[in-house]
Symmetry: C2
Amino acid sequence: MRTKQRVKWDLDPNRTALIIINMQKAFCEPDGALYVRNTEHIIDNIRSVSDTARKAGMPVVYLRHKVRGDGDSNRMNDMYPKVVDLLRRRTIDSEIIDELAPKPEDIIINKLFYSGFHFTDLDTILRSRDVDTLIVCGTATNVCCEATVRDAVHKEYKAIVLSDANAAADYPDMGWGAVSAEEIQRLSLTAIAYEFGQVSSTMEIVGEIETNISEGFASFHSA
Amino acid sequence: MRTKQRVKWDLDPNRTALIIINMQKAFCEPDGALYVRNTEHIIDNIRSVSDTARKAGMPVVYLRHKVRGDGDSNRMNDMYPKVVDLLRRRTIDSEIIDELAPKPEDIIINKLFYSGFHFTDLDTILRSRDVDTLIVCGTATNVCCEATVRDAVHKEYKAIVLSDANAAADYPDMGWGAVSAEEIQRLSLTAIAYEFGQVSSTMEIVGEIETNISEGFASFHSA
C-alpha cells in the first residue's frame, strides 16, 4: 500500500480567500428540493470560519448555483431534469440561507454548473486580490465542492478543504448499491487529501488564522 | 432517499470518440512507480472497445500524463513530490503499455495534470471532428478519468464511463481509514452515474457501436 504525508501549507491570511459553496435554501432547508441533510451540521462551522475570515480581512466568496431557466446546460438538464425550476434565478429557494446571510463586503458569484470556476469571474476576483490559497466549505462535498477544488488545483491554487464544514449527500442505488453521505464524505476527503490539497478541521484553520493575524502575518491589511 | 434514473444516450459512432487515459507503464506494470493493481483487469476491455472504435471510424485518443520535468506544476509537486522523475517526457515508464500500443491513425495527447482538457488541445480535436460524446476508460477512475469526465460535462460533452474498463487505486489511511480500490470504484461510478454522465459495461457499448454501424448510423464514414 502506498503511503503519503498529508499536505499542510502555511496559511497567509493576506493571500487566502474563503469560498462558501451552495449554502442555499434549496440545499440546506429540510423542505428544499435538493436537500442535503448533513448541511445542518456545518452551518455553525461555516459561520465561525467566515466571521474569522472577515476579521482577518480575507475575501469571503459565496458561490450560488443559479440557472437562468432558459434551458441552460444540456448536460445539467440530463442529470437534473428539473434544475431550471429548482435553482432558477430570483427564486427564494436559490438564495443563501438566513443563518449565513452574506455581509455587505462579501462577494457573491452565481454559477451555472458544479464548478465555481466554470464561466464565472472567480479566478479573476482571486488573482486581482493576489489570492493563492482557498479555504473551501459548503455542499455537496464530492460534487460542487470537489469540482471547485479540482479546478482550483489545476489553476495552481492551494486548496484547504474543511473536513467538518463540507456536507455530502446520500446516493441511492445507481447499480452498485446505495452509498451513505458518511461514506461519500470519507472517500471524498481521502481522495482530496491524497490528490488535491489540504484537509483540516474548522477549529484548526480558525486557530491558524487567528494566530497568524496576531503574529503580524496580516500586517498588510492592518497597515 | 432521492432516486434517479440512470442516463442513457443514443450512441452515434460518427459523433463519438474513445478516450484512453494514462494506460502507461508507470501505472500499469507491477514494477511501475505509480502502479494501480486493477489496471490488469481492464486491458482486455480497453483493447476490445478500441478495436471496435477503430472499425467504426471513431477517433481513438490516448492521454498520457507526461511532465516536462522542469518543476511543472507546484500543486502536482506538492501532492506527488517525485512526479518530475516518475512521469518525465522521453522515459520508458511514461509510454503506453505494449498491450495497448496506439495505431498510426490514433491521436496521442500529453497532459501535465489530472484532466485531459487541462492546457491540451483535446477540446479542439473533438470539436473539429464534431464529436459530442466521449467513451472514457483508463486509470485512475476517480482521479484522471473523473477529472476528465467532470471537465467534459462542463463543456457539454456526453460522457460514457465504462464501468469495467476504468481502474481505481487503493488509498492508505489519510485520516479517515484506508479505502480499497473496490470501494473507490463503487463510489466513483455511483457519483458519475448520479451527477456526470452515463455508466455502462464495455460489452454493452461494444455491442451498441456494432449494432449502430450495421444499421447505417456510420453511413458518413462508409460513404
